[in-house]
Structure formats: structure tokens, C-alpha cells
Amino acid sequence: MNSDLVIKDLHVSVEEKEILKGVNLTVKAGTIHAIMGPNGSGKSTLAYTLMGHPGYIVTGGEAWYRGQNILELEPDERSKLGLFLAFQYPVAIPGVTVANFLRAAINAHRAEEGKDPKETAIPMAQFRKQLREQMTALGIDESFARRYLNEGFSGGEKKRIEILQMAMLEPSMAIMDETDSGLDIDALKIVAQGVNTLYERHPEMGVLVITHYQRLLNYIKPHFVSVLMDGRIVREGGPELALELEEKGYDFLREEVASA
């Protein structure tokens, strides 16, 4: 079974406006792949579409992962297949604690058809131990386990909780949507370290890092860099491409694309 994420000629519209205009991209299992692009290029649209947000309408193309066209699956089915999206703007769920939410998510992953959910559920002690370990590693205070998910959290706290969820769910293909936005350098380092630790523990996993700036890529080193502009991948390369963009800005590419 192929654990690469293979996106073919993906077209996506939001409110009848075409945002992605034929994206072709392969994120290989076991690699870290950065997508860079200026504002409005379609980066977040790509992230949301891969996870199955109902507001993003796929008008053409495919996205294959583990033998399935994931565009035909519900968001929860995609999650169970191993996909994970770290949100740029995580949503608050009032009244649902971080611990209860995570337990529900883990148990949903462990559920098996025809089996009593009580049988497949993670034992409470094991869950608590895992949660405590991961929170410590990410420098999240224990009290957060009992707080309502993302309610009243600062931008940095929300991002850490996203990484906590990723660490607990152990996805095989993680998409990080502008995880660096709104983070100061210390928070950025912790978040990046969380991603790197998980990747070291699961070297077979794929990571798609979506970012506007090169800054994050100093801490999460990509194997490949693709540039998204006006709904299309316009350039692919290695880590040196990110540095080139940092130096020259997106305009030089825009001019290149226009004259091509």
C-alpha cells in the first residue's frame, strides 16, 4: 500500500471562486515537505481540502493516500486513515475539556466495527500517563488537561495543543497549516521540537509543512520545498529553494512565472 500522498490536478472552489487551479504534488512517506507561497496563493485551501472541510468544493482532480482517493472520504475517515491537520486557527469547544476531547479522539481511532467501544477504548491509566508525558514534553501545564479546549487560550497555547493532539494521535501524514503564525521564537522552537520528536519516533511519517516564511524551516528542516502561487505549484526544489525565496522574495518567482 502506497503511503505517499499523491495529489493530481486538484481544482478547488470556495464560494464559486476557483482557488486551486490544478495542483500536482507528491508528499513522500518519510519526508518533510514544505509548501511555501504568498498570501492568497491557496495554501490554506489545500490544507482544508485535504482534510475535507465542507466549505471547500473539489471541482476536479484526485488525492491518493494508502490506496484510496481521500477526497471521497469523510473527515473522520481521513483521520483514521492517518491524516492529521494542525489548524492555523484552532476552534474552541466550550464545555469539552482537553483530556476528554483527546480521549474521545483516541477512542474513535481505536474503535473497530462490530466491537463494543468499551472493549477497544484506551485504558484510563494508560491514557493519563501518555497525556502527562506528552504535555511535559511540550511544556504544557498539567492544568490544561482540565480546561475547555481552546477556550481562552492564547495563540501560542492553541498551537501547542495542536501539536499535543498530533503527538497523541500519531498520524502517518501530518499537515501543518501556518503553524508558525502568531508564535514568538520560543514558542516556535517548542512547537518545532514537538514535530521533530514525533518525526524521529516515526521516521516513516510524512509531514506537509505549509508556511509563508522561511523562519519555521530553520527549525523543521524540509527535504523538499514546493512553491504554490495563484493556485498552482510553480516551482519545486530542495531546502535551498526556501533560502532563495527568503532572499529574493516571492516577486522574482511571480515575474518568472509570468514571463514563462
Binding site: 482534510m51 475535507g52 472541510h53 465542507p54 466549505g55 469523510e74 473527515p75 473522520d76 481521513r78 483521520s79 483514521k80 492529521f84 491537520l85 489548524f87 484552532p90 476552534v91 469547544i93 466550550p94 464545555g95 469539552v96 476528554n100 476531547f101 474521545a104 479522539a105 474513535a108 481511532h109 475547555y148 493532539q165 494521535l169
Partner: protein
């Protein structure tokens, strides 16, 4: 369970009410009060309520309870040696007649509508709770009311009196296990808090599906006293509850939360009134409603800041969540300010379907849609359930809500 009953309501006369009262050895003032209330009930037209559907309500033939078989009292510790009185009102009338005479009817006007008068005329069930000065009762005291015969009627009368500095948790619970014929509950609860007293009041309504519940509750709050009021409304075919907190004493306060969940064809109305009378009174109200299927709920609230009040703080939150497009929830919040001296008064209200962004977020973590809705609804009610001091009761409420989603 068996219970004695009155004849059908249509066949009762004031002479019978007087006869029964005297036979029970009740004091003359109460006999007169009952007869007077009965005459009002018999002559008054049914109230016209735009949002409470009484078109199928036929109380003429119901058999009202003539004993206290529907009342069960629970306490986890013996509190009598602290001077606390916790017994049926029917019993207490013989031992604490003078105290009852002073307070009975001193909060709620029986002639506001005929069903309150019915309660004043025929009450048998109900509890009397008196907590003396500076006595602190740790564990909750519970009065549970059931519907002992199908198609019956009960009119519990609850009188709760906290002397200065006293504190207690009182739970009133209305429940029937199975569906029955059209039944009728007309309870009235009056609560009085002396200075610096603290009352945690939990009111739970989980009747079966054919019960009409038409009731009233009011608490009068003394100087520096505080109330935590949590209401959970899950049952009944029709509910019409008029509830009031009167912050009379300076520095008195209330934290008032409610959870209402209507499904099928339920028609559940809550009309909470909040009156700021004393200086520096403070109120926080948080009312949560979930509607499903073809149910209909109404929040008909009113906050009144009286002329003599000063430096009032008042905050109202009311939120409704719709689980199906045919369900309906009306919200009619009112605010009357009769003074220039208000410290803070605020109101927030939302109504709508389950948030798609929340659903997507949860589903992106592998949680299936149905379960995500469960979690969102439970989370929505969490601030209310969190206020129920009794673990077993909280657990039971959570399970009933779960089952209803």
C-alpha cells in the same frame, strides 16, 4: 403506590375543601386560605399564554392527591440536632404553624393565575425546610415528587426558610419513570433567605411525556445573602415555569443557570424574572437550551432594576442550540431599568445550529459526526451540570441528556 385523592376537579366545592382541611386538623387561617383560593380557581378563566399550548389540556377530570404519597424526602445526614426542620409541609403545619403562617404565600401571589390558586387550595404534597441561624448543612437535602397514579394531579407546596447566616443545598426533583395518561403537576416553591444566608437550589424536572407541569418558584434574598440556582428541564409534555429571584437586601446575589432540552413534541417554557431591589446586588444568569425534532421552547425572561436599587451588576447569557430544522426556540429577554445608578448590565444571546467549524475540527480528529454532536451538546450544558452539587444527580442528568441526543 396508592394514594388518596380528591374527587375530579370539576366536582370539588369550597365546602369540600373546608371539610377536608378541618378533618386534617389544620388551623383555621389555612382552611380559610384554601377556601378562598379554591373560589378563585373555580371562577377564574384559564390563563391565556401565547407560548404555552393548553389547547389539549383537560384538567376537569383529574384526581388530585389528597395525601403526601407522592413526596419522598432524602437526607444523607441527620440534621435535626442542629435544629434543622426537614419534613412534609402537611406535617409541619402542626408543629410550626406560626412560622408557616408568616411565610406561606409571602413570596408568590396565588391569584396570579388559576393554577397557582389550585395549588394554594389543594396542596398536600410538599416540603418544609427550616435552617436556623448560622447553621450550615453540608450535604444536600432532596425532595422528590412522583406521579403516583396515571392521570393524576399533584400540587406540591414547598416552603424553604433560611435564617440569618444559614446555608443549605436543597434539591427538588419531579420525575416519573414511564409515560402515563395526561397528568398534571402544579408545584409552588417559596424560598426566603435571611441576611448572609446561602442557598444552593437545584430544580430538576424529568416527568414522563404526558405530564403538564405548571409551576412557580420564587426566592426572596436578604442582605448579603446569596443564591446559586440550577434548573434542569428535560421532561413533560408542556412545561410552564414562572421563576423569580428578588434581590431585596443590599449586597445580595444570585448565580442562576438553567439547562432545558426539548425533543419530540415537547413544549417547554421558562419565564425567569430577576428583580434588583437592594443596593449593590449582583446577578449572573446563564440559560442554555437545546431543541430537537419538533419541540418548542421559550425563554421569557425579564430583568427589572428597581428605582431604589444602586450600583447593580447584572449579566444575562442565553443560548439555544438547534439539532433539527423543525425545532423552535423563542427568546424574549426583557430589561427594565428604573434607576440611573447601574454599575454594569449586559446581555448576550445566541441561537443556531451546531457550528460547522466545531464539527469539522472534531471530525478531523477522527470523531464521527454523531459523537461530535454528543460532545458539543454535553459541553454546551456543562456549565449548568457543573453546578449540581450532588455527584449522583449530576451523573443521572448527564445520562438523561446523553440518551436524549
Amino acid at each position: 403506590m396508592t394514594m388518596k385523592t380528591f374527587p375530579p376537579l370539576a366536582e370539588i366545592s369550597d365546602a369540600l375543601v373546608i371539610e377536608r382541611s378541618r378533618a386534617a386538623g389544620e388551623p383555621e387561617w389555612l382552611t380559610e386560605q384554601r377556601a378562598d383560593a379554591w373560589r378563585f380557581f373555580a371562577s377564574a378563566e384559564p390563563p391565556y399564554w401565547r407560548r404555552t399550548d393548553l389547547s389539549k389540556f383537560k384538567p376537569e377530570q383529574v384526581l388530585a392527591a389528597a395525601d403526601t404519597a407522592a413526596t419522598s424526602l432524602y437526607q444523607e445526614e441527620d440534621v435535626t440536632d442542629q435544629g434543622v426542620v426537614f419534613t412534609t409541609l402537611a406535617q409541619a403545619i402542626h408543629s410550626h404553624g406560626d412560622l408557616i403562617r408568616r411565610y406561606l404565600g409571602a413570596a408568590i401571589d396565588s391569584k396570579r393565575h388559576k393554577f397557582l390558586a389550585l395549588n394554594a387550595a389543594l396542596w398536600q404534597d410538599g416540603v418544609f425546610l427550616y435552617v436556623p441561624k448560622h447553621v450550615n448543612v453540608e450535604l444536600p437535602l432532596t425532595a422528590m415528587f412522583s406521579m403516583p397514579i396515571p392521570g393524576g394531579a399533584i400540587a406540591p407546596r414547598n416552603l424553604i426558610i433560611l435564617d440569618d447566616g444559614a446555608s443549605v443545598t436543597f434539591v427538588e426533583e419531579y420525575h416519573s419513570v414511564a409515560a402515563s395518561d395526561q397528568a398534571f403537576a402544579a408545584p409552588v416553591t417559596e424560598m426566603f433567605l435571611g441576611n448572609d444566608a446561602t442557598l444552593r437550589f437545584v430544580a430538576v424536572q424529568t416527568w414522563g411525556e404526558d405530564v403538564y407541569h405548571i409551576g412557580a418558584q420564587k426566592v426572596r434574598v436578604g442582605r448579603g445573602a446569596s443564591v446559586e440556582w440550577a434548573a434542569v428541564n428535560l421532561g413533560a409534555r408542556v412545561q410552564h415555569i414562572e421563576a423569580e429571584t428578588a434581590l431585596e437586601g443590599d449586597g445580595s446575589r444570585v448565580e442562576w443557570v438553567a439547562a432545558t432540552f426539548a425533543a419530540d413534541h415537547q413544549n417547554l417554557l421558562t419565564a425567569p424574572w430577576l428583580r434588583h431591589i437592594g443596593a449593590k446586588t449582583e446577578a449572573h444568569m446563564d440559560f442554555k437550551t437545546v431543541v430537537k425534532d419538533q419541540s418548542y421552547t421559550t425563554f421569557d425572561g425579564m430583568i427589572k432594576i428597581e428605582h431604589q436599587s444602586r450600583a447593580t451588576v447584572s449579566r444575562l447569557e442565553e443560548h439555544a442550540l438547534h439539532l433539527s430544522p423543525k425545532a423552535r426556540s423563542d427568546s424574549i429577554p426583557g430589561l427594565m431599568i428604573d434607576t440611573n445608578d447601574v454599575a454594569r448590565a449586559g446581555h448576550a444571546s445566541t441561537s443556531g445550529e451546531v457550528d460547522e467549524e466545531q464539527l469539522f475540527y472534531m471530525r478531523s480528529r477522527g470523531i464521527p459526526r454523531d459523537e461530535a454532536i454528543h460532545l458539543i451538546v454535553m459541553g454546551f450544558f456543562e456549565p449548568v451540570l457543573d453546578r449540581i452539587p450532588n455527584d449522583a444527580l449530576r451523573q443521572r442528568m448527564a445520562e438523561m441528556i446523553e440518551a436524549k441526543i
